[in-house]
């Protein structure tokens, strides 16, 4: 196993070098003469917005995509990857953003799967010893016989890292390594990868946001914008402002202006709500809260702790098993989603492409989905095409959706633009209650800023806003009150202005004690 052979490689040796990497797609240069090098024992972050060419570069380094031009050298030797297998053989490991693990199998089975030297009959005992040694070395505790679906997100990620290391990876490419982790898990991950660099492993995280993470652990940063390398820095010379400016190409405001609005009467009241998920498990258990006029109520939680079923139950897309939901004092627990829209609930779903829009419909038709039941736009079942078109054009202009015209299909919009369109559709109805379900997930810095400002505007106008987010910084920055959600329950409801990051972070991970002590 390669991990323990640290003698041949000295700290700071260049172990991977990419020269002049260029990849063109129709109408787009995804990578434009990118030069990039990785040294042994360093954490080298690659930063860029969506569409900056990060994914392409990562895919080229891992052998998933072949570059049109340019050369790659690994340990000084020119290489030509035909498939990820070639990259793996040369010691390049990949930790994907979406977990690439078989949920029903054990940790050990996942680590062994596809390993070239296992032989026909698996020697589980020896493999377990080897992997346990790796775990010890990097100070990570993991039960190798657990089924993967029992594990937390952080542990699953560690399984992927171990799998790569067990195959002899010297370079770990990590795609958005912290995006699905709760703060304590993020901390643990960063500690672990720092220990790994002592073995002269190179860690290459690719990151869109979460600039603080980059600053806290990496030694070097490469910033990509529109397919080009725009900055190559030693991290100690960089600041958050500087990195964001390089990424976006303009100044970015980091501190959102906390808008103070007089808190009005309760718009949404939820009493002892329980909801089942599609597997028949109780995903939301006995949740009670209220959201008031001019208030942003933030639900912070790691993915899969019941936020989705809760949002869907409130939007009328999922049945409530127990409890009551009231809007402006009248019960809506059993109303359909349409009836809820008409009463003033606006839902911004997390799945922009699957739920938030219809890809094969034009922008006009997508806007129409929130208007067709309105007599102003639809008379006796006949749609007033002229009127809805004018409205769509006005909205597209107002929300700055970058599209040549309103007849293009929604599926051709980028993630950020699509979210602007959905926002335009929902917010223009001036809902009493806005349910924003992961409104900025997957968006780049610029689009995120836009969405957050729109929510603050709506708050100023007196709307009640339920914000569901996996990004703790976002919840802290925007919310007036915060409910950390863990395994279907609210751990607490804290006032937003004073909530401490560590306490909310611990509560999100189900750790109550710490909060109680402090």
């Amino acid at each position: 196993m390669g991990v323990f052979m640290t003698d041949e490689i000295k700290h700071g040796d260049v172990i991977l070098e990419a020269r002049g990497i260029t990849k063109r797609y129709p109408g787009l240069v995804a990578n434009d003469h990118v030069d990039f090098e990785i040294r042994a024992g360093e954490i080298h972050a690659v930063l860029g917005e969506n569409g900056a060419g990060k994914t392409t570069l990562m895919s080229i380094l891992f052998g998933l995509v072949r570059p049109d031009e340019g050369e790659i050298y690994v340990f000084g030797k020119k290489v030509n990857f035909r498939s990820p297998l070639d990259a793996i053989k040369l010691g390049i490991g990949m930790v994907h953003q979406t977990r690439k693990l078989v949920q029903a199998h054990t940790v050990l089975e996942n680590i062994l799967l596809g390993h070239p030297n296992t032989g026909l009959i698996l020697d589980f005992k020896k493999a377990a010893e080897d992997v346990a040694r790796l775990c010890d070395r990097y100070e990570y505790k993991l039960n190798l016989n657990d089924k993967v679906w029992h594990l937390s997100e952080g542990e699953k990620q560690m399984v992927e890292i171990l799998k790569a290391l067990y195959r002899g990876a010297r370079i770990l490419i990590m795609d958005e390594p912290t995006s699905s982790l709760a703060p304590p898990e993020t901390k643990k991950l960063l500690e672990t990868i720092q220990i790994m660099t002592k073995d002269e492993l190179a860690i290459v995280p690719f990151i869109t946001h979460k600039l603080p993470v980059v600053l806290s652990v990496s030694q070097r940063v490469t910033v990509l914008r529109r397919g080009k390398v725009v900055a190559r820095l030693n991290t100690h010379e960089a600041t958050e402002q500087l990195l964001a400016r390089e990424m976006v190409g303009r100044e970015v405001m980091f501190n959102l202006e906390r808008v103070q609005v007089e808190r009005g009467k309760a718009v949404l009241e939820v009493q002892n709500l329980s909801v089942y998920d599609e597997k028949g498990m109780k995903a939301v258990e006995d949740v009670s809260f209220s959201v008031h006029e001019g208030e942003i109520f933030g639900i912070a939680g790691v993915s899969g702790n019941g936020q989705q079923p809760l949002a869907e139950a409130l939007a009328g897309l999922r049945k409530a098993a127990e409890g009551k939901v009231l809007l402006d004092g009248s019960e809506i627990t059993h109303l359909s989603s349409m009836e809820r829209w008409k009463k003033g609930i606006g839902y911004i779903p997390s799945e922009q492409r699957a739920v938030g829009s219809i890809g094969d419909f034009s922008l006009v038709e997508n806007i129409l989905m929130s208007y067709y039941y309105d007599d102003e736009f639809c008379r006796r079942g006949v749609i007033d095409a002229k009127k809805i078109r004018a409205r769509a054009e006005a909205l597209v202009a107002e929300y700055g959706v970058a599209a040549p015209n309103v007849d293009v299909l929604a599926k051709n919009l980028s993630g950020g633009n699509l979210q602007k369109l959905i926002l335009a559709r929902v917010l223009s109805r001036q809902p009493r209650l806005i349910i924003a379900n992961l409104p900025t997930q997957g968006l780049d810095v610029g689009a995120t800023e836009f969405v957050q400002n729109k929510l603050l505007e709506a708050k100023k106008a007196g709307a009640a806003i339920l914000l569901i987010s996996e990004d703790l910084d976002e919840v802290l920055a925007l919310s007036d009150r915060i409910a950390p959600m863990y395994e279907g329950r609210f751990m607490d409801i804290l006032p937003g202005g004073e909530a401490e990051r560590e306490i909310v972070g611990a509560l999100m991970a189900g750790i109550r004690q710490k909060a109680a002590e402090q």
Binding site: A104, H105, L113, P116, L120, L122
Partner: protein, 290 residues
């Protein structure tokens, strides 16, 4: 009583072998509901070959080969073309039903060969089926190819990034699966009931299919289920032997099928999937597209 159990165990052999085939296929993510069709092909072709050549071995080999061929056909439709596996499986059943009736008609009647040896009435294939179940369990859970096969059935995209050829694995699994179904049909036609008749399998393939779900895709649980259904089948044929004068024999005849339906319905409920759902291969029935 011994005779009853011997007949039951001999019947269970056929369920076991066919269902083991289906387990292999489903563990790799491919559902073949046309077990009955593949078995009919195996039974009829092996019967004809054995009868014409007078050689049992050739008969079995032909039955296994035609089963593998049916598997290849199913793999082509469900893996390469990405078609609906249930629809294609039904197609295999209907094709097997019609075509074997046509091909086998001239050979209607007994095989006319000396019976295969048995140990106090117990077919040697019963012992072989025990060994086969143990072997397949070992393969699935203790070997690397078995792990690959299961991974392909759970999550093919994960298998792909782990360097496994999903298409090749699925083809091999489904062909082997078909070969076992053909073998099960051959055992039926050459050993258990060596008299060819129109549709002489009478739905055994469907019981084998239900047994796969019943067994939670585990070869050892399958053995238990097969023996239970083998016994049920015998009871349904000779209810007088065990429980005389309770129902008409025609009602008894429906028992294995009624239980099959109940099992399949229970398996598809929410109640079941929330408790035991993890055993079901996650990608079962889903075509894999990169």
């Amino acid at each position: 009583m011994w005779e009853f159990w011997v007949r039951s165990l001999n019947a269970s052999t056929i369920f076991t072998v066919a269902a083991l085939g289906e387990i292999i296929g489903q563990r790799a993510g491919i559902m073949n509901v046309g077990v009955e069709g593949a078995m009919l092909f195996g039974a009829t072709i092996s019967f004809i070959v054995a009868k014409v050549t007078g050689n049992y071995l050739l008969g079995f080999l032909a039955g296994i080969a035609v089963g593998a061929l049916i598997g290849l056909l199913h793999a082509f439709f469900s893996v390469t073309l990405g078609g609906d596996q249930v629809v294609n499986g039904m197609g295999i059943w209907i094709l097997g039903f019609g075509l074997t009736a046509y091909i086998g008609y001239p050979y209607t009647g007994p095989l006319g060969l000396p019976r295969l040896p048995a140990i106090a009435g117990l077919s040697p294939f019963f012992l072989a089926s025990l060994a086969l179940a143990a072997g397949i369990w070992f393969f699935l859970f203790k070997t690397h190819p078995g792990l690959k096969l299961r991974s392909v059935g759970e999550n093919p995209s994960v298998a792909e990034v782990s360097g496994i050829n999903v298409v090749r694995t699925r083809y091999a699994s489904v062909m082997f699966s078909g070969a076992l179904m053909g073998f099960a049909g051959s055992i039926y036609a050459l050993d258990y009931n060596p008299v060819w008749n129109y549709n002489f399998l009478m739905g055994w393939g469907f019981i084998a299919l239900a047994l796969v779900f019943f067994s939670m895709w585990n070869p050892f649980l399958l053995l238990g289920g097969s023996i239970l259904f083998g016994a049920l089948w015998q009871v349904s044929l000779n209810p007088e032997a065990l429980l005389p004068n309770i129902f008409s024999r025609y009602i008894w005849r429906t028992f294995p099928f009624v239980i099959t339906i109940i099992v399949l319905v229970l398996m598809s409920t929410k109640w079941f999937s929330s408790r035991w759902g993890a055993a079901r291969p996650e990608a079962l029935g889903l075509p894999y597209e990169k």
